[in-house]
Amino acid sequence: MEGLTLSDAEQKYYSDLFSYCDIESTKKVVVNGRVLELFRAAQLPNDVVLQIMELCGATRLGYFGRSQFYIALKLVAVAQSGFPLRVESINTVKDLPLPRFVASKNEQESRHAASYSSDSENQGSYSGVIPPPPGRGQVKKGSVSHDTVQPRTSADAQEPASPVVSPQQSPPTSPHTWRKHSRHPSGGNSERPLAGPGPFWSPFGEAQSGSSAGDAVWSGHSPPPPQENWVSFADTPPTSTLLTMHPASVQDQTTVRTVASATTAIEIRRQSSSYDDPWKITDEQRQYYVNQFKTIQPDLNGFIPGSAAKEFFTKSKLPILELSHIWELSDFDKDGALTLDEFCAAFHLVVARKNGYDLPEKLPESLMPKLIDLEDSADVGDQPGEVGYSGSPAEAPPSKSPSMPSLNQTWPELNQSSEWETFSERSSSSQTLTQFDSNIAPADPDTAIVHPVPIRMTPSKIHMQEMELKRTGSDHTNPTSPLLVKPSDLSEENKINSSVKFASGNTVDGYSSSDSFTSDPEQIGSNVTRQRSHSGTSPDNTAPPPPPPRPQPSHSRSSSLDMNRTFTVTTGQQQAGVVAHPPAVPPRPQPSQAPGPAVHRPVDADGLITHTSTSPQQIPEQPNFADFSQFEVFAASNVNDEQDDEAEKHPEVLPAEKASDPASSLRVAKTDSKTEEKTAASAPANVSKGTTPLAPPPKPIRRRLKSEDELRPEVDEHTQKTGVLAAVLASQPSIPRSVGKDKKAIQASIRRNKETNTVLARLNSELQQQLKDVLEERISLEVQLEQLRPFSHL
């Protein structure tokens, strides 16, 4: 069966009748009795009525839905007009007059009845269910048509009134779209093209468009395919309802009329104004929906689960596809359940659909659940509808993400988290610059000084360190540990500091490794002085006196460098035998020789100068004095070398330097701890060198500061033990040698030397470690330097 296209007048009229029959206010289904009465009032032969009922589908359905009712009315009109009752006829028959029903009871009814052919016989036969007599209808039609001709005019005359009567509010079931469709009767059905319900919807979307436009749209649209659903509805023509309609119609005419009159003004207003929302749910409808909701879910604030809703709506016999679409539209929050609002919207859509309205692409505004989160409007159908005929204009289709925030959130998280994970993995690479901390710290577990403590001026400390060195051999409370502990603080200065620390690292506690660490030249200086003092206090200590506190800030560094260098020189060679030398040798300031890449060089040089100034004084009588000059010479050469080395700043070079310089540094170390300081670059190497000869003091500064007395004997003793040392020491008045004349003295000296040897050996190892650390520090410093001067290489 094709879709039913109704004219405006028909719309109104049908709506009126529907509401009239809808005594239960179900808004959807009319009472069969009423329908039958009405149909009886149509004064059509029973068989015609039955046929009508069958055609409209009421019989199949067992009830008169709105669509069925309208179809039935149309068929009545068709029948009354004398046309053959066919499914197609409802649409094909143009200019069909309104179906006329014999009004039996009130003026409305009579009015209607006047337009009807008084086919009283039909009325009588309509009572009760009448099987559709297909054939008989034809006969009747003829008569009916004949009869209807007359009433047509009257019907037409009535039409102007009836359209006015359009049940805008009375037919609670009919969406107000009907109203819209009811174009103001221009007079006579003939004028109005029949428009299907489908086209009705187009004007809905254009809520603001005038009726004319709507009409145009209507005409443009063919009956929507959903109307085919009516066919399904048409299977159950409730003939009984048809029959019962008649008697009822009489009674309800008044009500309809009154209601119609009431709605007249409204309709006029409405027609003049923009289109009202065709999807608005009237109160009656709403009440009905709520009642239905309660049957499923007593709690009005609760949800109807999807399965229950599915069963319920499946009863409407709509295709699953359409029900699915209705669900999509109505389940606003996409939770698989229907709230009361959603349910009403769905129900409304089902009703509309059953009445032949096309489902909108988007949920109409009026049907939207009034939830807080929906205020911003989102349409359920998120996409641009084919036709914006829904009341809700095509707003920016909100993505479903608002309705599924959790899902959307999880996905980005999922995606991102995985990415993050990978990122974190990639970024897990740690820098190795700070690794030496761990190496250094454990190396000097005994070191009390954890961070650069600047100054230890007391020679006693140096002595103590020496003693400790002798005892533990590896006792290095010194500064080295602090020096070592602060790798992160490495700066250019730190290099020297580290060198100092190396020098002093293995030396006595007295050496304030912190001196070397701290970039404070003062500290270094103090360390140097300390060293000096230490050396002074322990003249015959084989163990290298602890690096005296750096005398002056600037000097300290330089001194430390020198010390380191001297130490490194010795270590490079051998044991720390030579180490003793540098500490013993008062570091002579050789600022000139320490141009060094490091800034601290000059500073250290100054310190050296002071150191040397002091040291020589302290050890005036030492035979090392003579060595000092040699050391100076060597220092110069070493400085140059070291400078070169420093320039390179390659750890690989350092070891090489270590190897090369030790020999030179041996001598230099004795006299030129300063040179070591100066050569900050080769500081690490120097440190090792410097420290080795004088076992304990990792810091050349300290060595420098060491009293020359201490240094000298240490140096002398150390050198004796090692060939190189011996060579170096040879320059110095080997006190032990002189002593060795005596066997005892020799043995004693041998013993001492051995002790010193062991001590220096330990020092050596420690210095080696320190060297490594310093090398790492140097690398870090180089990196920092590069960072500080990013464009240097450009």
């Binding site: 689960p305 999807g306 399965s307 809703a309 599915k310 709506f313 295709p319 699953i320 596809l321 359409e322 029900l323 699915s324 679409h325 669900w327 999509e328 389940d331 996409k334 939770d335 698989g336 489902l359 692409e361 359920v380 159908g381 998120d382 996409q383 641009p384 993505s399 479903k400 993400s401 309705s403 599924m404 899902l407 959307n408 996905w411 980005p412 999922l414 995606n415 995985s418």
Partner: protein
């Protein structure tokens, strides 16, 4: 109502690999494959030989399975849904996405669409997944049926015609 599988023609754009012709297209073909590797939804632009896209999607299923098995052996939970580029061909690139329920989304994009970045593909898959979930939530949808949701169709259309 629902276009069903015959809805390929509906994606109107003139999407051809003509650069600069009309709005940039996102995807050439979008397919939703069920766990049992039968298509729940497949749609491609009409201008091309659709069968070719069907074949491409079909062959990509092997790649998807391979990726799933490789990634999700012990880390099913941590397996990322987005599979990335499955395999490129001369003219097209095929991207994959699999849900935790082993429903696969396969998207074929034009290789000339260089503007498409990985993030965009991900977002498209996310939208697909969202829409698919909405379809699943519909009680009238039986899992395993062809997807005939208008909303889903519209979403796919938007992805196939214009840049999101």
């Amino acid at each position: 109502m629902g276009r069903g599988l015959g809805g390929r023609v509906t994606s109107g754009g003139s999407r051809d690999a003509v650069p600069g012709a009309g709005p940039p297209k996102m995807a050439v073909c979008i397919a939703v494959i069920a766990k049992e590797n039968y298509p729940l939804y497949i749609r491609s632009t009409p201008t091309e030989n659709e069968l070719k896209f069907h074949y491409m999607v079909h062959t990509s299923l092997d790649v998807v399975d391979e990726k799933i098995s490789a990634m999700g052996k012990a880390l099913v939970d941590q397996r990322e849904l987005y599979l990335g580029l499955l395999y490129p061909t001369e003219d097209y690139k095929v991207y994959g996405y699999v849900t935790n329920s082993k429903v696969k989304f396969v998207m074929v994009v034009d290789s000339s669409n260089t503007a498409l970045r990985d993030n965009e593909i991900r977002s498209m898959f996310r939208k697909l997944h969202n829409s698919y979930t909405d379809v699943m939530c519909n009680p009238f949808y039986n899992p395993g049926d062809r997807i005939q949701s208008r909303a889903f169709d519209n979403m796919v259309t938007s992805m196939m015609i214009q840049v999101c």
